[in-house]
């Protein structure tokens, strides 16, 4: 399956060849959010939104065509 992935803020560095952290990504069927983060080698705690829905769990399954956004949890500034 293929997802539309967008890494936000400092996470863009995990996709150095992408256009501002945005790319299409192929995943094995039945991949979870945890699988995606593992593939990206993101070790820090992040928040993930799928198709605009926030507060997703690491065990949640992704499906073909999902729009996935990954955020850091920084809340100050």
């Amino acid at each position: 399956m293929q997802i539309n992935l967008e890494l936000m803020g400092p996470l863009v560095d995990y996709l150095p060849d992408s256009e501002c952290g945005q790319t299409k990504m192929s995943l094995n069927d039945e991949s979870t959010i945890a699988d995606l983060l593992s593939l990206l080698k993101i070790k820090q705690r992040v928040a993930v939104a799928v198709n605009g829905e926030q507060e997703k769990e690491m065990k949640d399954l992704l499906k073909d065509g999902d729009n996935v956004m990954v955020f850091t949890n920084v809340s100050g500034g």
Binding site: M8, G9, P10, D13, C20, T72, S75, G76, G77
Partner: protein
């Protein structure tokens, strides 16, 4: 011999030119720790109810904490407290850089300033000695120029200078204290208080490094910070800085836009932090931003400060004035509908040159822009300047006019609440102030417990006085350490979220009393969690504090701030959010249609009061609470307070 602190507090009476050094007992430091709590001890002792914020009788306290100046990340912070000319409530503001550590090296933990000098002076602190010197030749200079002159005059490039700029001299109600020409104790108008005293600057230099009680543990804590930069994401935060939250805020509908009428800005990508890093930070042309475009505070490994430089054109900017934080990008950018990054960089530099708070300045201009859009202001009021949303040129021009108190800028220099009172015509409907202080760039409609803290915070809306809502669920291990084990769903405004608000508020209040950085120490995403904060305090001081003791210090400071307001007769009636947040649903993006429900919100406010043991009717701290925190003396010594606290 004290560990961590110098044991010396300088009292300055500018009217008489008198300098007295006090050496408090160790218990005093353990009770207040430093920063805001320590400063409030003196403000409550030495001012009377009804004091005019810009009079000689107001007391300005500049305080470091017991770990300031030790070589570990996030400790070089200074807190300023005094009655605020912007709000009429207590004022409180934190700032970082190298000044706080150098002030400790100069031999003083804090400086308590009262009176008014007959002529402009600066205070020179060096190796345990203090003197007042003439500053007539510095009056009127921008911060960069004044700092250059002082370095030349004192023949020492390593002095650190905390100063007011022309905005502080002009008593702009939200004038800031500036160090390094780009670090600000920005909020609540502490620069105007210093200006009203004819004190241009405090200049520090010394070699008295604080002693550390347990150097081995301290070294381990230093190493832990460096080793955990990647795991906590603080390496990326350091690289891209606070501006990197701009786009994420926009995506979740939490980027205040058009004076808080929307949570999404269709040009957010233009003002994002990654773009700022790639296309504007100094050195970007050679991909050398890490070397030339980032700056830091004393001994901090995170290095999150921005350096920008524009060599030509209308927004020409010198590197010494730094670069914008997220708050500045939002207030001058999305609040005003402005997407030109160079204009934001220039407005930021003007605030640092003249010494003004970027949040209140940008938000006040945004308020005027909404008034313009609603037909309440016209070119006749503004002297021909078209304050239309998106007009970058007008935004920058107005920023400079405010600093100089020129034309319409003179009215906006009072802040939006007072400007609305002067202008009338229903313009108060568009205010985004709490207690007269403009809201920072996090939205109560989206972060609802934060909204309660905006309302109850004694010095007005503030985004660094509690942890933000989403962190409760996102950081369960760290939350458990401070007794928060029941994370709630998004937008919840129930009793557990009020407990989250209060407990994290106490922790942030302790952080502001220790005077450490809330990006480095905190209950959630920060580099060091609250457990490590306890370890740092103990390693430096040799004390045996635990988290409960630190939270109590935070609660003590919060109640001192609150008691100051109670003494002024300010209570529950001031604990409100701007009307528009209840009446006007947000437009567009993920938060489209969001508005607060007044009944639910008031119920949450009362839950919060009960948790704090404050009177639900009046909002004043109870006598029992004050006494349990060792603050019975505050009530006993202040008749006006004893009449409202029971």
């Amino acid at each position: 011999m004290p560990k961590g602190y110098t044991g010396k507090i300088l009292h300055v009476n500018l009217t008489q030119g008198e300098l007295i050094i006090e050496e408090p007992e160790e218990q005093f430091y353990r009770t207040y720790m430093g920063g805001s709590a320590l400063g409030m001890h003196y403000v409550l002792k030495e001012t009377s109810a009804g004091v005019d914020a810009l009079s000689p009788e107001n007391v300005l306290a500049l305080c470091t904490g017991v770990v300031t100046g030790t070589p570990i990340s996030g400790q070089s912070r200074l807190t300023a407290v005094a009655k605020s000319p912007l709000t009429g409530c207590i004022g409180d503001s934190q700032g970082g850089g190298f000044f706080p550590a150098q002030m400790k090296f100069s031999g003083f933990d804090a400086v308590i300033i009262k009176g008014k000098s007959p002529k402009p002076v600066f205070l020179w602190l060096h190796n345990g000695e203090a003197e007042l010197r003439d500053a007539a030749h510095l009056w009127g200079l921008t911060t960069g120029d004044a700092e250059d002159k002082l370095k030349e005059e004192l023949d020492d490039k390593r002095i650190e200078v905390l100063q007011i700029g022309p905005a502080g001299e002009n008593l702009v109600n939200y004038a800031a204290l500036i160090s390094m020409s780009n670090r600000a104790n920005g909020r609540t108008g502490m620069g105007a208080v210093m200006g009203s005293k004819n004190l241009k600057a405090v200049v520090v230099r010394g070699k008295q490094k604080p002693e550390i009680a347990d150097p081995d543990t301290f070294k381990e804590l230093q190493k832990w910070g460096t080793a955990n930069l990647e795991a906590t994401g603080m390496d990326g935060f350091g690289k891209y800085g606070t501006p990197s939250v701009t786009t994420p805020q926009d995506k979740v509908g939490g980027l205040p836009t058009y004076n808080f009428n929307s949570g999404t800005f269709d040009q957010a990508a233009e003002i994002d932090g990654v773009k700022l890093y790639k296309e504007r930070l100094r050195g970007h042309e050679r991909d050398e931003q890490n070397r030339f475009g980032r700056d830091t505070c004393f001994s901090c490994t995170v290095k999150c400060k921005r350096v920008t430089q524009i060599d030509e054109g209308p927004y020409k900017t010198e590197a010494k004035y730094g670069g914008p934080e997220y708050e500045t990008i939002a207030t001058f950018g999305s609040y005003c509908g402005v997407s030109e990054m160079d204009a934001i960089i220039r407005a930021n530099a003007l605030c640092n040159m003249y010494g003004m708070d970027t949040i209140t300045c940008g938000a006040t201009i945004a308020w005027a822009m909404e008034c313009w859009a609603e037909g309440k202001l016209s070119a006749e009021d503004t002297g021909g300047i078209e304050l239309v949303y998106g007009n970058a040129e007008a935004m920058v021009q107005m920023t400079e006019m405010i600093a100089k108190c020129e034309g319409f800028g003179k009215i906006l220099a009072k802040g939006s609440r007072k400007a609305a009172e002067i202008i009338g015509r229903g313009t108060e409907e568009y205010l985004i102030t709490c207690k007269g202080q403009e809201a920072p760039a996090h939205m109560p409609q989206v972060k609802r417990s934060l909204g309660i803290v905006y309302a109850v915070n004694p010095f007005g809306a503030d985004h660094e006085s509690s942890e933000h809502d989403g962190s409760y669920k996102a950081f369960p291990e760290r939350m458990e350490y401070i007794g928060l084990t029941k994370p709630q769903e998004k937008l919840a405004l129930n009793k557990e979220m009020m407990r989250f608000a209060m407990v994290t508020q106490h922790l942030f209040s302790a952080i502001d009393s220790l005077s450490v950085c809330s990006f480095i120490y905190g209950p959630a995403w920060q580099l060091y969690g609250a457990d490590k904060l306890v370890e740092v305090v103990n390693a430096v001081t040799g004390w045996d504090v635990d988290i409960e003791e630190l939270l109590e210090v935070g609660e003590r400071r919060l109640n001192m701030l609150r008691a100051f307001n109670s003494r002024e007769g300010i209570g529950r009636e001031s604990d409100t959010l701007p009307k528009k947040m209840f009446k006007r649903p947000l437009e567009g993006g993920r938060s489209d249609g969001y508005a607060l429900d007044e009944e639910e919100w008031e119920r949450a406010l009362e839950d919060y009061y009960r948790l704090c043991e404050w009177d639900v009717e009046t909002g004043h701290p109870s006598l029992k609470k004050m006494e349990s925190l060792g603050l019975g003396w505050v009530v006993a010594e202040n008749e006006a307070l004893s009449q409202v606290v029971s």
